[in-house]
């Protein structure tokens, strides 16, 4: 596959990027495409964040002050869709684009044109999705899970939502195929599977998850579309269909999806923690096996999102036990990271701060996940703010922190400049404080009985909701620091060395900073 040549007679080999907008539109370079994905994700982060702030502003105090309940519902729906499909997933794909070829010593992604296409579908998908907010009848307001029959009510923007989900899905599947093809074909000689960095491993497994479940989502939403417009009744009891079947299909996609949102984060942690502990990753092989078991288990736990739909007892038992099992490999990962830190020689630059923040707060989210797995208790927790607290603990200080950690960690390699360390640390501390002010009280109101997805609430929830809203605005605005640090670092700054971090290990640190437009056209030698 590799086209590396020693005599550079091929013109293609040494030319740099084209200039102007054409460079970005037509690029097939993995680094350019990685940058596009990451910037796209950053923009969407602020759009999704703005929606969250509308939600928190309405929930500032009891009573309806700002928005109509229907618009509120479309904010919760859109916020989730944007954050999941527009922020976390593209950011991970962007990181994969930048790092996987460099980590495995390959010259580029295996399918560069497909790569260009899978990125450029995204902005259109999201334009389509966001435009529904301005259509007659407003955007989708039935929750990101699009449960039938509720999602079938409302305006014709529905069709646009379904098509935008199809576009996102096509983009993800193409991206995943590309990643799998790259990992299997582009590795430098000697880079055996069990030598690959964990980020590559976790992405390989994530890519398989995506290829397996995105078509399931596509099927589910297509059935919604035909139910709505073509007279089928897959999910309408009146026509002999079954609304619960939608939920089974959706969560068969949905639960693996939540692991799609976290496995690459595990890979990032496994790169960053050893670097700053100056000690090799503990239990490499067990990390790989743990990731694989999580991926496997994630296919057989979906109905833990549906403990109140009225499943047979045996079904509830099975899904309870299977879900509890998932915490075992998840625990193994956490323990391995702790053992990596143990008796290391740690320093606490911004990437490490975010990694430790991840470890602590992801563990909190994992433990509340374990509580949710206990079916009788979940019947009380389900669809309350307790669940909202759980998934925000795993997604914000989990997935989002991992992306920020990765950005701080690799941006010197991307731009050739060091980021502003002081601002980075400030960003971490302010974010972490506000984040806990924002999400921790949600456990309380959830347990005390506040349902999720409501625009107005009873008086006993007022205090903690106000606290959470303060946290939300604090957290939201402190992300401007992140945007500033990133932009500043792209523009200039102290020059980074090739190794960047004292304890760094891996092929990406053997190339110059900034990484040349083409790397590893001649495969490196792997020890």
């Amino acid at each position: 596959m590799s086209t590396a040549t020693t005599e550079h007679h091929d013109h293609h080999d040494d030319h740099g990027p084209a200039y102007g907008w054409k460079r970005w539109l037509f690029t097939t370079n993995h680094k350019d495409i990685g940058t596009l994905y990451l910037l796209f994700s950053l923009v969407m982060f602020f759009i999704g964040g703005g929606m969250a702030l509308i939600i928190r502003a309405e929930l500032w105090q009891p009573g309806l002050q700002i928005v109509d309940p229907l618009f509120f519902n479309s904010m919760t729906t859109m916020h989730a869709l944007v954050m999941i499909f527009g922020v976390v997933m593209p950011a991970f794909v962007g990181l994969a684009n930048w790092m996987i070829p460099m980590m495995i010593g390959g010259p580029d992604m295996a399918l560069p044109r497909l790569n260009n296409w899978s990125f450029w579908i995204m902005p259109f998908a999201f334009l389509l999705l966001l435009s529904t907010l301005f259509m007659e009848g407003g955007g989708p307001a039935g929750g990101w899970t699009l449960y039938a029959p509720l999602s079938l009510q409302g305006g014709d923007s529905f069709a646009f939502v379904i098509f935008s989900i199809h576009f996102m899905g096509i983009s993800s599947v193409m991206g995943s195929i590309n990643i799998v093809a790259t990992i299997f074909n582009m590795r430098a000689p000697g880079m055996t599977l069990m030598k690959m960095p964990l980020f590559v491993w976790t992405w390989l497994i994530t890519a398989y998850l995506l290829i397996a479940v995105i078509p399931v989502l596509a099927g589910a939403v297509t059935m919604l579309l035909t139910d709505r417009y073509f007279g089928t009744s897959f999910f309408s009891a009146a026509g002999g269909g079954d609304p619960v079947m939608y939920q089974h299909i959706f969560w068969f996609f949905g639960h693996p999806e939540v692991y799609i949102l976290i496995l690459p984060a595990f890979g990032i942690m496994s790169s960053i923690i050893p670097t700053f502990a100056r000690k090799p990753l503990f239990g490499y092989a067990s990390m790989v096996y743990a990731t694989a078991s999580i991926a496997f288990l994630s296919f057989i736990v979906w109905a833990h999102h549906m403990f109140t739909v009225g499943m047979p007892l045996a079904g509830e038992m099975f899904f309870m036990f299977a879900t509890m099992m998932i915490s075992v490999p998840t625990g193994v990962k956490v323990f391995n990271w702790m053992a990596t830190m143990w008796r290391g020689s740690m320093t606490f630059e911004t990437p490490m701060l975010f990694a430790i923040g991840f470890l602590v707060m992801f563990t909190i989210g994992g433990l509340s996940g374990l509580m949710l797995a206990i079916t009788p208790a979940d019947i009380q927790y389900h669809d309350t703010y307790f669940v909202v607290a759980h998934f925000h603990y795993v997604l914000v200080p989990g997935a989002i922190y991992s992306i920020m950690a990765a950005t701080y960690y690799w941006i010197p390699k991307w731009t050739g400049n060091m980021y502003d360390e002081k601002l980075g640390k400030i960003h971490f501390w302010i974010s972490t404080i506000f984040l806990n002010v924002l999400f921790f009280p949600m456990h309380f109101v959830g347990l005390a009985g506040m349902p999720r997805r409501i625009p107005d609430y009873s008086l006993q929830f007022a205090d903690w909701n106000m606290v959470a809203s303060i946290g939300a605005f604090g957290f939201g605005f402190s992300q401007l620091i992140f945007a500033y640090v990133v932009i500043k670092c792209m523009k200039g700054g102290e020059k980074a060395t090739d190794e960047v971090w004292e304890g760094a290990d891996g092929l990406e640190w053997t190339v110059a900073s900034p990484a040349p437009y083409h790397t590893f056209e001649t495969p490196p030698t792997i020890k």
Binding site: P149, S345, P376, D456
Partner: protein, 386 residues
């Protein structure tokens, strides 16, 4: 690092010190509840909560010890170990054992929860957008239960009412569900339009109400009292505004209540209105009378979608003002309200509204909200349809 650590520790201490169940804790913990099941669930919740706290404390203790001791700034030199099959096996096996110890009591409670046999009475709960309908299958008593009028007024976007002055804001209904204490009550859950979920935390009862399906659940309430809950499955615009209120009373009081309700008779299906039963659907009603009544019915049943001014929500819910249905052929107008519109949010109101209410609201839609067709629809015309 120190401050995250302190924050976490102080939070945990705080949770520990304030004993669960105490008044101070009531606002931030699950209620113990008033049924044998709810008490078991609460026990289970606290058990896993403490197990998680212990695991968390152990993990964070080791992690932060390492963070403080094994840092470069203290001159710590990195060790070189990077694998150990023994510890890997250990930290796979120990959590498994902990899990089994949680799974056993959880399974027991779950089995008890699902046992709906030998119930003393059965109540069918049907979710509507956005109210509940209760039907006592043993006595035939049935009625709708929706957010109390005062609350409904206060919660509108520009109501100008300070909601903190309203007792039990959003937790009050017009007609609560009345049940006896000390009896095993079986609930059947279903829905008429979209999926809802009927939740009363004090009973540890939460079950989805799914159109076309019937779910079962049960509760045995041990203490008389008023227990409040909510709909917990997103069901559209007014999902946040369909509370549940259960009034548990001693059995004799319950029986008296049932007798009174059954006596009140066949008209129990009307929108709550004390003298609804006495109405004469056969007599000729005057326009004013119909309009006055129609306005109330419209506010209670139609505004959520068609809006207070009848303007609707473009694209989602059609306007009444100037609507071809509301100013057009009477029969078509009646049909839409009586039968609903298949495949849309417009439900059939045949079961929800009495003859007089339906006639009134139809007349109101034709002659208010900017419309002025000039005709009246009489309750007798609706009665003829049934």
């Amino acid at each position: 690092m120190r401050s995250t650590f302190c924050a976490v520790v102080s939070r945990l201490c705080w949770l520990t010190v304030l004993l669960p169940g105490s008044k101070a804790f009531a606002d931030i913990n699950m209620p113990v509840g008033v049924t044998p099941i709810s008490k078991e669930v609460y026990g289970l919740h606290m058990l896993i909560f403490w197990i998680c706290c212990v695991i968390g404390a152990a993990v964070f203790a080791v992690m932060f010890y390492s963070i403080f001791k094994h840092r470069k700034s203290k001159g710590h030199k990195p060790a070189d170990f990077h694998e150990s099959t023994t510890v890997e096996i250990l930290w796979t096996a120990v959590p498994l054992v902990i899990l089994v110890s949680m799974a056993i009591p959880a399974a027991k409670t779950l089995i008890a929860m699902e046992d709906t046999s030998n119930a003393d009475l059965t109540i069918k709960v049907t979710g509507y957008q956005w109210k509940w309908h209760y039907e006592y299958l043993d006595s035939g008593v049935n009625f709708f239960s929706s957010l109390a009028a005062e609350h409904n007024e206060a919660r509108q976007v520009d109501s100008g009412i300070d909601v903190s002055t309203i007792d039990n804001y959003l937790k009050e209904v017009d007609n609560p569900l009345v049940v006896p204490v000390g009896k095993k009550i079986r609930f059947l859950h279903t829905a008429a339009d979209v999926i809802h979920s009927w939740w009363v935390p004090d009973l540890a009862v939460k079950k989805d109400a799914i159109p076309g399906f019937i779910n079962e659940n049960w509760a045995l309430i041990e203490e008389p009292g008023i227990y409040r809950g909510k709909c917990t499955e997103l069901c559209g615009r007014d999902h946040g505004f369909m509370p549940v209120v259960v009034k548990a009373v001693p059995e004799d009081e319950y029986l008296a209540w049932v007798a009174e309700q059954s006596g009140a008779g066949e008209e129990a299906e009307t929108v709550a209105d004390g003298d609804a039963a006495e109405e004469d659907t056969d007599r000729e009603w005057a326009m004013d009378e119909l309009l006055a009544r129609g306005e109330k019915v419209y506010t209670a049943n139609c505004v959520a979608c068609h809006q207070a001014g009848g303007q609707g929500v473009p694209g989602a819910f059609p306007a009444i003002t100037g609507s071809p249905v509301a100013i057009g052929d009477v029969d078509k107008h009646i049909e839409v309200v009586y039968e609903g519109v298949a495949g849309s949010a417009m439900a059939s109101f045949a079961a929800q509204l009495s003859d007089a209410d339906m006639a009134a609201v139809l007349t109101y839609q034709r002659n208010a909200l900017g419309n002025s067709v000039g005709d009246t629809i009489q309750p007798s015309a609706i009665k003829a349809l049934r």
